[in-house]
């Protein structure tokens, strides 16, 4: 009598069964339905017949045949780089411009915001991870095919501006560029919200068609950028300087996350750098974090931490410092740096009153930087 199970025969039977199960279960034919259309990308060079180098962002991905860059939406097909998200909006939505946040550019107006799939950062705290950390195929079921002309038409009908946001607009550069150019031609207020990782050449080309840019300055140490966002800080600082140099309206957002980037020494260094390189009139928004994406075990930022950051920035000489995502907070409004009077009264995204006349404070005529004409 045999004592043991015959392992070989058992394995044979099991493998046969498993294979038949797999074949039977493979009824998934979604591959074709999620196939995305492509448009040739700008800003890339061919390294060899099969290999391309993307020159759009600081990563400078070298992409082999059939592969994609870090952003997962730019693909090398037969030695040519294609954007897989052109005219494929993952989200298209009307928001108040204050939500961007952009406080010194036509307040109390709306912007038609567009976003797609993918990002060149991987922030653990991303609030839009449903878009930014997905591939075009994954978003395919909810994507809306929409051409730049249609977006501009909708914005005109709604009387709104245009914004490229939600996920990082760098990764849908071609779509953004064409829409921005058209929007600008039609006299729309065109802005974008970026992480600042774009390279100078594409950025310079794009800035010609933008009215304003909001840049996330996520922290002020290279370690933080590496650990929390899997990215680099230096390119972001270069971007900030370039936008300023080109004379495009610039606002900075710093999402203050408890324990990760709320160290006041770093905030102080950041404010000093902003003042020295971008000027004291550059608006800086300290916004409150609420648990999101991979950071759901963290509590929201203590309001006191935001107030400390605000005080630090003001003591460093910055004139327009805001506290965001804390509705009803006094520092959500704009104050004249000279007479200290409230000149734009805001509650969260709602603007209650604007006391700026001909680009100046209504009370003391101090010039207030920004774009105030509507």
């Amino acid at each position: 009598m045999k004592d043991n199970i015959s392992r070989r025969s058992f394995l044979r039977y099991s493998l046969c069964t498993a294979a038949s199960l797999c074949l039977a279960g493979n009824n998934n034919s979604e591959a074709d339905s999620t196939k995305v259309t492509a448009k040739e990308a700008r800003f890339y060079t061919r390294v060899s017949p099969d290999i391309v180098k993307c020159n759009l962002c600081f990563r400078e991905c070298t992409i082999t045949e059939g592969r994609r860059g870090f952003c997962r939406n730019r693909e090398n097909t037969k030695g040519m780089l294609y954007s897989l998200v052109f005219a494929r909006a993952g989200a298209i939505h009307l928001d108040p411009i204050e939500k961007e946040p952009m406080f010194h550019n036509r307040p109390n107006t709306d912007i038609l915001c567009t976003g797609t799939a993918g990002c060149n950062f991987q922030c653990k705290f991303c609030h839009n991870w449903h878009l930014s950390q997905r591939t075009p195929e994954e978003l395919s079921p909810v994507v809306r095919n929409i051409q730049p002309e249609e977006i501009v038409d909708i914005a005109k009908k709604m009387g709104s501006g245009l914004s490229f946001t939600y996920n990082e607009p760098t990764v849908f550069y071609e779509f953004m560029y064409d829409t921005a150019m058209l929007g600008k031609k039609n006299g729309l207020n065109v802005i974008c919200h970026t992480n600042g990782g774009m390279k100078p050449e594409p950025l310079s080309a794009l800035l010609k068609h933008l009215d304003g840019v909001t840049v996330d300055l996520k922290g002020f140490t290279a370690d933080y950028y590496r650990d929390a966002s899997f990215s680099e800080m230096k390119p972001v600082l270069d971007t900030l300087k370039l936008i300023k140099a080109k004379g495009i309206w610039l606002e900075i957002v710093n999402l203050v996350i408890p324990t990760l980037n709320d160290d006041l020494n770093n905030i102080k260094k950041m404010c000093k750098w902003i003042r020295g390189n971008l000027g004291e009139e550059t608006p800086v928004h300290f916004t409150r974090f609420s648990p999101s994406y991979k950071m759901t075990h963290l509590p929201p930022t203590p309001v006191r931490s935001l107030e400390n950051a605000w005080e630090t920035a003001v003591s460093e000489g910055l004139h327009y410092v805001y506290i965001g995502n804390v509705p009803g907070h006094r520092q959500n409004s704009t104050f004249c740096p000279k007479c200290r009077k409230k000149i734009i009264d805001r509650t969260h995204f709602s603007v209650e009153s604007i006391d700026i006349v001909k680009d100046k404070c209504k009370y003391c005529s101090h010039p207030i930087p920004g774009i105030w004409k509507t």
């Binding site: 009824n27 976003g115 931490s305 709602s350």
Partner: protein
């Protein structure tokens, strides 16, 4: 001489009971710590249990041959016993400190990879050694007991120890800290070793006594508690940890930074002591949809925000159902001015009971019922998102009453996963309430009512009501109401959720918790995208396909057994599938109990103890009734599954009968699986030529592997995806194949059937 033998036997048996007790206690203590760190849902529990079981099986399997020839098995047992207790303390410390050591932020949610690796690493010494104890226990007891009865005794004694651990922990877990409990466990094991190792040298005796005395002093001091506080501090190492305690229901911690206290329940933020604007939305928007709200019921998180906002309404009486008094006590102890206001207010009546039980037992009528809970990621939370629950709420609502419940959403974009989840909840509410309104936001607020007005309410009316009520709010004003209720902005997202042509509008039922599956998909997308892809593939295959696949597999098994009749495969299949069925039914019955009788924490230990009692009695039964063979037990287990299947598929019966049925089924499954295991051991030992320790070690491993598969499958796939009835159909099929295999195996062994 006979007396000496008997004395030795009693001490050894007591030691084996302590072994079972220690293993079960270690499992509970470490599991609880892991759940705090990983924010446990069924998937997390499944992975951790699976790791435990596979390690235990491995320990048993790898040590069976060494154990069968061990010269000093008693000494080995003693050493392993002490090692398990020490490892438990070290495992708890490791769980608490690994984030700090690996430089992982305490606020970061960790995916399946971490859950698997960390739980595997910390459980390795405990579970592996626990597995080793079984063959060594058999070897030691073989000096005192008849050879074929030995595994039965070890099984029986271990089960008795485990059952008593379940009961004892119910009463101690919330009174003593984890480190104190695990230190006590070590002390008990040291004493146990000292009692059953009489033949050791004087020197060793002295060392052991010294250790016991020293450790007793340690236990009597404040050091264990201090050690507990210090190690717990590493869980949120970047914060100031004010307090960490176990309540009857959960782990509650208070951490602080700047002037803000954060109250954490099972590792997740529950409330903060400062302003939270999302709570404002949740409180005030539903109120705007009722023309004159006076009586309110809050189920779920109320203290720490929602109650505070509701208190702003002048003529309001609020009932608040919260089962855990410790949460309220903790918030009160670390209260700021805001919390003081809400907890001391006489408008609020707190009921220390679970929401569903409160709805069942209370006869009051409410204008608005708020349900404020996280996403239904566990079967327990899901009970507040089901059609049956919404029906209970509807019965307690006034004529124009509104139910308000929130689900994660987005103002700008809903991913397919979130759309599916939101649609499931929408469809479930719609099944009960004729009118459903969704207020789109980062937390979508679903309103259900019999009153059409909630769907047609004009923004202007809402604003007017807000003004008339003179509510102070930092966020909500006429402009914000206009923004939030603006159809032009959010109409498309609302349409996506309420779309009637949706293929995903499966309703979420108590016994078919579809929303749990949707939430699992969403969670895995966030933390382990590779797992998400697997889950999607699993979910896309229909149930009949699975049945067909399993049918083919089982047919292959039957053909294999028919061709190799001398093979003992049938025995391993029977024991493994019974281990699978035992764990499957254990979890399924606990879930059924939960549906009907609420939060199970109090009863979890009792239910598990009933199962273990069944196991123990099954073991005794197997010793007494040699005439019952494998075929009989296979038929009995399959029949019991059929009985539960018929019960689950039949219309609801009186609750008292349901309770009796669940308790009885729990006992029966324990009894039958325990019984069968030992019949199989006896069978493998009789006439097969396999050493009985090796044979029982193999069968023990098969039993545990089956239980491992059951732990993973039932809560993470079967119940959420297919519901209770279909899951039972699947199980019935698996066990029916067992009958055929055992029958084929026995044909070969004719005429000796046992």
């Amino acid at each position: 001489m006979e007396n000496l033998r008997s004395y030795g036997s009693v001490r050894l048996k007591a030691a084996i009971i302590v072994m079972g007790f220690s293993a079960a206690s270690s499992q509970v203590l470490v599991l609880r710590e892991l759940l705090v760190v990983f924010n446990g849902n069924e998937l997390t529990i499944g992975i951790i249990l699976a790791n435990w079981l596979i390690l235990e099986a491995l320990g048993s399997f790898l040590s069976k041959e060494k154990a069968s020839i061990a010269r000093r098995p008693l000494a080995n047992i003693a050493l392993i016993q002490i090692c398990i207790s020490v490892s438990t303390i070290l495992a708890i410390m490791a769980v608490r400190t690994f984030r700090y050591c690996l430089d992982i932020p305490s606020g970061e949610s960790l995916g399946i990879f971490y859950i698997f690796c960390v739980s595997f690493a910390v459980l390795f010494p405990i579970a592996f050694m626990d597995g080793v104890l079984f063959p060594y226990g058999c070897r030691s007891l073989s000096s005192y007991q008849k050879r074929e009865e030995v595994p039965a005794y070890v099984y029986l004694l271990q089960a008795t120890g485990a059952a008593s651990a379940g009961i004892i922990l119910i009463f101690t877990l919330h009174r003593l800290s984890t480190i104190v409990l695990s230190s006590l466990l070590l002390l008990v094991n040291l004493i146990s070793v000292a009692c059953y190792l009489p033949l050791v040298t004087e020197k060793f005796k002295l060392i052991l006594t010294g250790l016991i005395v020293a450790f007793s002093f340690f236990m009597g001091s404040s050091l264990p508690e201090r050690l507990n506080q210090i190690t717990a501090g590493f869980l949120w190492y970047e914060f100031k940890v004010e307090e960490v305690k176990n309540s009857k229901y959960s782990n509650i911690a208070v951490i602080s930074r700047e002037d803000q206290y954060t109250f954490l329940v099972n590792g997740l933020p529950y409330a903060v002591s400062t302003y939270d604007h999302q709570i404002e939305e949740l409180a005030h928007f539903p109120m705007l949809f009722h023309e004159n709200p006076e009586n309110i019921l809050v189920i779920g998180s109320g203290a720490g925000g929602l109650l505070r906002e509701l208190m702003k309404y002048e003529f309001l009486m609020i009932d608040y159902a919260e089962p855990d008094p410790f949460i309220i006590d903790t918030i009160r102890r670390f209260s700021t001015r805001l919390q003081d206001e809400e907890l001391e207010n006489e408008k609020i009546k707190t009921h220390l009971t679970e929401g569903r039980l409160f709805l069942k037992e209370n006869t009051s009528c409410y204008d608005i019922v708020f349900v404020n809970l996280p996403l239904p990621s566990t079967l327990q939370i899901n009970r507040y998102f089901t059609v049956e629950f919404f029906e209970m709420v509807k019965k307690r609502l006034s004529e124009k009453g509104i139910m308000a419940i929130s689900v994660e959403g987005s103002e700008n974009f809903l991913s397919e996963e979130l759309i599916r989840l939101n649609r499931t909840i929408y469809a479930s509410i719609k099944k009960i309430f004729p009118h459903v309104k969704v207020i789109i936001g980062n937390n979508n607020i679903f309103l259900g009512s019999s009153e059409e007005a909630i769907e047609t309410l004009a923004e202007s009316t809402a604003s007017q009501r807000f003004r008339e009520r003179k509510i102070e709010s930092r966020l909500i004003n006429s402009r914000y109401i206009h923004y939030r209720l603006n159809k032009e902005r959010f109409g498309n997202i609302e349409k996506d959720i309420s779309s009637s042509s949706s293929p995903y509008e499966k309703t979420n039922m108590d016994e078919s918790p579809h929303a749990v599956w949707m939430t699992m998909l969403y969670d895995s997308l966030l933390l382990s995208p590779w797992l998400n892809r697997i889950q999607i593939s699993i979910g896309e295959v229909s149930f009949s396909f699975y049945l067909a696949g399993v049918f083919i597999l089982l047919t292959v098994f039957v053909i294999f057994q028919a061709k190799n009749r001398s093979n003992l495969f049938f025995l391993y299949y029977a024991v493994g599938s019974s281990g699978f069925a035992g764990m499957f039914m254990n979890i399924l019955l606990i879930f059924l109990f939960q549906i009907h009788y609420g939060n199970i924490y109090h009863y979890l230990g009792i239910l598990t103890s009933i199962f273990m009692l069944g196991l123990a009695l099954g073991a005794i039964g197997s010793l007494k009734t040699a005439r019952i063979n494998m075929l009989n037990t296979e038929v009995a287990i399959t029949s019991a599954i059929l009985a539960v299947l018929l019960f689950a598929a039949s219309p609801p019966v009186k609750t008292e009968f349901t309770l009796l049925f669940i308790l009885f089924s729990m006992f029966i499954f324990g009894l039958l699986t325990g019984f069968e295991f030992l019949v199989a051991v006896r069978h493998s030992a009789s006439g097969t030529g396999i050493n009985f320790i090796i044979g029982s070690g193999r069968l023990y491993a098969a039993d545990i592997l089956g239980a491992f598969a059951g732990a993973i499958a039932v809560a993470t796939v079967f119940i959420p995806l297919f519901g209770i009835v279909q899951s039972l159909v699947f199980l019935f099929m698996v066990k029916s194949a067992g009958i055929t295999l055992v029958f084929l195996g026995f044909i070969h062994k004719k005429p000796k059937l046992h």
